[in-house]
């Protein structure tokens, strides 16, 4: 089911380039589905890291979908940084260059104070941009349980893998975003649609704009130390209402 009726829009899979694209390791049209981690796994196989998650983003930063990860820890790390609005993930997306944190414990907490205070202890974090043409369309978040660096040739490997993953990631994200019945998995929570549903409910209940409503949700999540999608779930289920709050 297409999202809208614009000709040539998201669901238009008739582009002949799709079939001939040599980088397209997981062409959505051939039925492969990176929800199983197939896009993220090569990073773990070929680099000294314990997990990898692949997320795509829109240009204003509010659109975010984690579409493939090697494990749930990796997916959650990407998501947590999205929710908090800071961390190596964001630095990477903003700058378009890899951000390598060899030792999270000794990295300066002023750089990402909330993330540093929230994240469970872990060794190293590396964020590699997904670049298409001139645009950064997302990032690959890699983590290590033990501190340690990526050697220059491993860095190149990471960047090369990310270059090769960008096309398939974008194509899959377009396909899944267009799917009205997308079924999220723990490793591929995608856009966490309930967050946006809750945003819509909140903007009615509190007479806010969508941007303000999402900020309010984020604030509640942070203040109550809960994942944003949990808070959103409560709003959608009607357990959390805002009509009577000051």
């Amino acid at each position: 089911m297409s999202l809208d009726d614009t000709p040539g829009s998201v669901e238009d899979g008739s582009n002949p380039q799709d079939d001939s694209n040599p980088q397209d390791g997981s062409n959505p049209q051939d039925g492969s589905n990176p929800q199983d981690g197939s896009l993220a796994d090569p990073f773990v196989e070929l680099l000294p890291v314990d997990g990898a998650a692949i997320s795509v983003v829109g240009s204003n930063g509010n659109e975010h979908a984690t579409i493939s990860s090697s494990d749930e820890v990796a997916a959650r790390l990407a998501e947590l940084q999205f929710e908090l609005g800071e961390g190596p993930h964001w630095e990477c997306l903003r700058s378009g260059v890899p951000v390598l944190v060899d030792n999270v414990a000794t990295s300066s907490p002023e750089r990402w104070p909330i993330f540093a205070a929230t994240v469970d202890p872990l060794g190293a974090l590396f964020s590699i941009p997904l670049i298409m043409g001139a645009a950064t369309i997302g990032g690959v978040d890699l983590y290590r349980r033990q501190p340690g660096r990526l050697s220059p040739s491993e860095q190149v490997k990471a960047v090369s893998l990310a270059v090769a993953a960008a096309g398939p990631a974008a194509r899959w994200a377009i396909k899944s975003a267009a799917d009205d019945g997308y079924f999220p998995t723990p490793g591929a929570p995608e856009m966490r649609r309930e967050i946006h549903q809750a945003t819509g409910m909140l903007l009615v209940q509190l007479d806010l704009t969508a941007t303000e409503a999402l900020a309010r949700l984020r604030g509640i999540a942070f203040a109550t130390n809960r994942p944003l999608h949990d808070v959103a779930h409560d709003v959608v289920e009607g357990r959390l209402k805002f009509t009577d709050t000051p």
Binding site: V10, P22, G133, A170, G200, L203
Partner: protein, 260 residues
Amino acid sequence: MQEQDSREVRLSAAFVKLADTLIADYDMVDLLDTLVTECTALLDVNAGGLMIADARGELQLVASTSEQADFVEVNQLNAGAGPCLDCFATGVAVSVADINDTGDNWPAFRVAAASQGFKAMHATPMRLRGQIIGTMNLFSVRAEQISDRDITVAQALADVATIGILQERNIRDSSILTEQLERALSSRILIEQAKGVMAAASSMDMDEAFSTLRNFSRNNNISLRAVAESLVKRTLPVSTIMQDTRARAQKQHTPSGPAK
């Protein structure tokens, strides 16, 4: 040992240099030039050339480190035969330890190489997932087999450059893809938000909210995204959609319309 170390350092530096060209807004000619120059400097060879297939699938010489290499490469292309062309055709590296010993395999190439003082060569395929886009060719003035180690390094450097070339070829397509991605993500967010708006302003659950929105969009010939956007921006009141839905349901009830 000292030599080994400094080679490692130079090798790392070469990879970083290539990676930089991949990340930055790079120039393709620079990338190819960097590749063949770094490779020639790092490995125990004297010259190098790079051939890339054009849009028609025919190899063209795009970079070389010396006029001698240039001569031999162009000669192979003109003759339509040589180790570089074999490498391109098969996708497998071709190593020639002594060009003089190649007999009648590639006579024109043998003569051309000899005239420029080259005794050995190694052709590395530039390929990614089955697609071969060209070859990188290294020439030596000594008749000796290139080491396995050098073969691996040459292939690794060629692989990075190959990704860069394919990436560059995809840039035009990727601007379209980037727009589609942007639109797909923002449409999805608007639709989910609109479902929330509908649910909060009525007693519907999210599924009912969605089908109501979709029916309204179809019946009024407005895209779902546009309906969602005006709901979220509050320029379209929920009541308008509810009234429209009720009116259509009543109309369907009276005659024997196809009930859903």
